[in-house]
């Protein structure tokens, strides 16, 4: 629904098509001080009516933080900016303390703070479609979006937490999945015997010989369990860890195996994602 909105004014976002290629809005987030502080950097490049509104303080960079576990949202508006005339670049940096031990989802935008009318000219940063037009923008409209920033990707290694249980028999491994783990936490817990732990600590590069093939197959087995758990969830949308959800979306995109479907087969999906490296295994050490 969100992408289908038709507004009477142009909004700067990826692939919107209204702005010239030289006009871009990006945001970046970095965690500092044991992850207790966030530095958000907004950058608007190129000449545009949005740049003019920012320079005249009629628009602001803003960021929303979402702490998923508590459904807590916080909002921070930047009152300051730097303007580099030569590079035609407006930037702002926000330093924000994090109230939780996990990272929030971060949604940056540029919003206008008063009702404004814009008459398009060659400095408006818009494509020829808009030339000669004029439009009104209601106060508090979002003028530019950037993608939601998250600190956990769908990459398997970023989702795994491996720990050793010395009492486990050699070669034993226990996997648990916490689909609703908080952002910044690792939702897949692997508890394993010392020998498996030592092996996994060596990392799992692309299998090239019997050793690396063995390590890779341990992760295949873990994924098989994870996929079966995810497929059996009654509610496959609410509260799911963003990294895990991203991984499951990528699984569908890359292998065609739909983890939400009734005929989903976890072993087939996991071996398609990380196939048993039989050739590498037969190469020996």
């Amino acid at each position: 629904m969100s992408d289908e909105l038709i507004l009477s004014f142009p909004v700067l976002k990826q692939d919107s098509g209204d702005f010239l290629d030289s006009v871009t809005y990006t945001a970046n987030a970095v965690q500092l001080q044991n992850n207790r502080k966030l530095i958000i950097t907004h950058t608007l490049k190129g000449e545009s009516f949005i740049a003019e509104l920012l320079k005249s303080n009629k628009a602001k960079f803003s960021v929303s933080l979402f702490y998923k576990d508590n459904a807590e949202r916080q909002n921070f508006v930047s009152d300051d900016y730097d303007y580099d005339e030569e590079a035609q670049e407006i930037s702002a940096e926000q330093e924000i303390n994090i109230d939780y031990s996990y990272a929030p989802e971060i949604t940056p935008c540029v919003a206008i703070t008063s009702n404004e009318s814009v008459v398009v000219n060659d400095k408006s940063g818009l494509t020829s479609f808009w030339q000669g037009e004029s439009f009104d923008i209601p106060a508090y409209s979002r003028l530019a979006y950037y993608l939601k920033l998250k600190f956990s990707s769908g990459n398997v290694s970023s989702l795994l937490h491996v720990s050793c249980e010395e009492n486990y028999p050699r070669g034993a491994i226990k996997t648990t999945v916490m689909p609703t783990a908080g952002e910044g936490e690792q939702p897949i817990q692997i508890i394993c015997a010392q020998d498996v732990y030592d092996e996994l600590k060596k990392g799992t590069p692309d299998p090239i010989d019997a050793n690396t093939a063995m390590r890779s197959s341990i992760v295949t087995q873990v994924l098989c369990y994870v996929y079966a758990c995810m497929n059996s969830l009654e509610d496959k949308e609410t509260d799911i860890h963003s990294g895990l959800l991203q991984h499951m979306k990528e699984l569908k995109e890359k292998t065609g195996e739909d983890w939400e479907g009734d005929d989903f087969n976890a072993s087939f999906a996991s071996t398609k994602t990380l196939p048993y490296a039989i050739n590498a295994l037969n190469k020996g050490v």
Binding site: M1, N70, Y100, P138, R142, T176, T180
Partner: protein, 282 residues
Amino acid sequence: MTIYKEINNSVWDSFGKSLLLKKGSEKQVDFLQSCRDGKDAFLQYLDKNIFSEKDAMTGGKGVFFDHKFTESEFRFPPIDTQQIIWDVFQGVPRQSMGSCGFWGSVVIDMIKHDCITPDYLASNVNGVNETGIYMLDNAINLDDSKKTDDCVRRILRSMGNSAPRGKRIIFNDFYLGRAYWRWNWSNKMSNEISLSFEEILNTLDEKGYVKVSEKMHSQKSYISQTNTFGGLLLFLNKNPSELVKNIEKIIDNLSYLSIWKAIEIQSSDLNQVEIENIADNI
């Protein structure tokens, strides 16, 4: 930030899920029987099935009640009990208050210190006399797998375990959590808008809180923005009947509006006007 002790959330969730694997299973009946047999049996069961796991508990400060609850008071805390709950938890960081493992640890400590008895957890006192003992006896003896499963789920919910409904349970279903979070919102918002703590508590009555909170912890968490929620409370204070009638539609429309309009930076007063417009057009 003070660290409070809590059950490892992964262990806590796995414990609940293992109990829900099969309706009417022997495992479910054993769990219910331990609950029926009283404090020592129940704590032994939990020791064996949760705390024998490595790192099942993370260390930290404990939270204790100096108050013995009655069964109905635990199930539906009246206003003076809500005050007790608020006083006990007011200083605890929000992160802990949003953790199922933290609440699980609190409830187990309440049993250990005789603030409640385990059978309270099964209570369905809801205008009818379905006490915990009555519910447990029915669930154990009637050979009805659905009743057994329902009772296990009710106990897990009463302990803040995420297995039956996910993490949102501690904001909606779990009695102590619901009382705390309702007061927390009233306290926070009374510092943001022109309504007093008591006015917000009244506006956000038990039923109203559940409706709003369900939305907050689903896909409509957008309303938890201070200015957005402020506007909603101002509107509901003026139009209390809307809480029952149209609140869900209003929240849906508000979320839709937030896609293009940064209502999170618009003042609560302006958001009230925005919400009035939405309500007029429903």
